[in-house]
């Protein structure tokens, strides 16, 4: 081996190699997305979901269906004062842990635990609200409703900090506000024994909860596209 060597690769050629590497990486990356969107089951924009996206989408819908279903069962139990109340509320609280755990793979344990904590407050405040309404304590009802809204605002802040691009605070706040409004309608109808309105309110809550689940799963997919290829 000699100690002499040819001139190194010119800077322009080096830059060209970097440029074409970037182009190739973009092509491969886009190709992944195109392939990922080649399975049946669709996005709202006409493209299709990957298996991983579908699993997240369905899992999130199950969690939020559980949320509104166990909330309804808890409302029924709390209003009627039936002996299953404790077990039903415990199951409802477990759902808050499940929802918090669902975001841990993306945002970590601390964020997941924080969401669980806020969602548990959401449930416990609702229970206090129902108790105040049953007792006819209007001042307490107003106070608990304000607390409930502040808790929803805290949840919106937490989520928007985690994913500011896809979960804008204002949009999440409005979404959660609608959830509180519809749940209030359900509770009021049940307290008044207006069963038709009670059932109609639950139908609206159910559809709205599925929309919330989709907002969350879509936001996760858009923020972490690589994890869903």
């Amino acid at each position: 081996m000699t100690t002499k060597a040819a001139r190194p690769i010119p800077l322009a050629l080096t830059a060209l190699i970097a440029f074409f590497s970037a182009l190739a990486a973009l092509a491969v990356s886009s190709g992944h997305d195109a392939h990922a969107h080649g399975n049946p089951a669709g996005h709202a924009d006409g493209t299709t979901l990957t298996q991983k996206e579908l699993a997240l989408h369905n899992g999130m819908r199950v969690l939020w269906e559980d949320h509104v279903t166990w909330t309804r069962l808890a409302v029924i139990s709390l209003v009627a004062g039936t002996p299953d109340t404790k077990a039903t509320v415990a199951r409802l609280l477990k759902n808050q842990t499940d929802i918090g755990s669902a975001i841990k793979p993306f945002y970590g344990k601390a964020a997941g635990d924080a969401l669980t904590g806020e969602l548990r407050q959401h449930i416990l405040i609702a229970a206090d609200l129902i108790a105040a309404a049953k007792a006819g304590d209007q001042a307490k009802v107003a106070a608990e409703q304000a607390r409930w809204q502040r808790n929803a605002d805290d949840i919106a802040t937490l989520l928007s900090k985690a994913n500011p691009q896809h979960w804008a605070r204002g949009e999440v706040r409005a979404m959660l506000g609608e959830h509180l409004r519809l749940t209030t309608q359900e509770v009021v109808a049940r307290l008044q024994g207006n069963w038709g309105a009670d059932v109609a309110a639950y139908d609206r809550i159910h559809r709205h909860a599925l929309g919330m689940a989709d907002t969350l799963s879509t936001g996760l997919v858009d923020q972490f596209p690589k994890r869903f290829r």
Partner: protein, 137 residues
Amino acid sequence: MITRAAIERDLVIVTCAISAGIHAALIPEHLTEGAATGAGFAIATALLAAVAVALTRVVSAAALASAAVLFGGLIVGYGLAVTTGLPLFHPHAEAVDGLALFTKAVELLGLLGATHLLWRLRPALALNYPRPKGTPA
């Protein structure tokens, strides 16, 4: 005559350029995951580009050592990113990805080239470039 040292030097430059290009292309995608993750890719791009530019000018021990440390760091960083997660830049483990594996293979080649040049050919490197007329040998 093209020596083995020259081939290894060019290999390090090319691997720096390829890795820099790939990291640059992936900055926007990683910015959506988080500012720190995107910043990590931008920093890696800038450092790789700087080392590539340096090596096209003078093959110094410092530039080769920088390339070796940079490639080693990127390979270890990716290993952490797909296992335990990389604190600050990528806190949670991600799935193994074909493009990333290709990039790490390229970086491994660069790492091998840089370390080989550093440890076996360093005395010769100073002689590799044409000297200006009148400069004593």
